[in-house]
Symmetry: C2
Amino acid sequence: MIDLEESVKNIGILKKYTKDEILFNAQENANGFYYVQSGEIRVYKMDENGREVEVVRLEPGDFLGEAIVFVSSRFPFFAQAVKDSNVLFFEKKTILRKIESDPSAAKFFVNLLAKKCLVLNKRIESLGLQTVRQRLIQHMLSHCRGNEQCVIELKMKKSELAKILGTISETLSRNLKQMQEEGLIEVKGSRIRITNCPVLRSELSP
Amino acid sequence: MIDLEESVKNIGILKKYTKDEILFNAQENANGFYYVQSGEIRVYKMDENGREVEVVRLEPGDFLGEAIVFVSSRFPFFAQAVKDSNVLFFEKKTILRKIESDPSAAKFFVNLLAKKCLVLNKRIESLGLQTVRQRLIQHMLSHCRGNEQCVIELKMKKSELAKILGTISETLSRNLKQMQEEGLIEVKGSRIRITNCPVLRSELSP
DNA sequence: AGATATCCTTGACTTAAGTCAAAAAAAGAT
DNA sequence: ATCTTTTTTTGACTTAAGTCAAGGATATCT
């Protein structure tokens, strides 16, 4: 979740998408990037068998394609609105001109991309964790603010969470069940309540 | 491997390090980033048991800390020269001033960070691959230029490559042996010769 | 509501990969 | 060189996680 600064916001073009509408297809020219103001956007790829594989789900405050635009020219994925959504579109040409003319915009984008790098690095470290259980814990903790207790509302299918954790739904299901039996969490549908964050945290650095 | 453009190069301060010399320690203030001109730099962390875990090894043309500087203030790792090395140091203040005054420098850094994001994304995809074998193949292929045959010179201990692939040295060793028995590669010490890239490539997208 | 499809869970089984321990090989030191 | 230390390889074993298949549970549609 990142707030846009005014000078940047002004050059964005508001686009409205209705539920299920496609923002763009894979291989389309990336002549700009997106910023989600409201609603929800699903980003996905196609696997070998033509099945859709979700890459990430975007919420208000999220960017899409901000790195690609500055390097290559084609999107490697599809994007589709899950709900009616308001999205700001930043045209490549406009952005580049803005960066040249407005140092604060330049700094904004440098900072934006730098932050993204750090997030990706964290993710890499996380995937380096040995067990699915550890990666699951890490994921859950990253979604709660260090409190004793907290509730996580999954914004995606469990099978998609599994993918993100580098595993499959069956294994995720078993891990959740196991942790529930241990009294560490309570799972009800797509809501997970962590009964004791510190205990979970201690499992990550033993 | 990224070339510096002249306008950027000029604001770098040349620093010379001799073999084994420390560039900085973890937790030190990140008041600038580095660019390797010659030599070799080892980047590592300490694990719980106080053992050094290599994160990456840098060669000429590589940057270090370029994302951290623009966001947070402390290095999360150590850096040490493996050989005598020439390194350019870019001071945070100087860089920010440059970005403000020189649009081409601003674009350079935006592009630099954007590229880094894409590299990290690739790495994440790669770690998402199921088997160690697949990740190993992906790693080897990324180090050869699409030729029929090619030779890879490992710049690190095999145990460190294992870490990067998200596994352990024993498993890496067994995979290398297996692939050698299948006639796909030839391993001699830290030199791997791929006898047929296309065949390997086909294993990644079956 | 009922019907259809999708998703989640569970069980039985297989396999990949981790652990521990020891030998072999390679790299450093004297 | 020879001795010492560190890495790498190998073997025997254990365990985590994947596969396949079936039953439940939710969601979605008309």
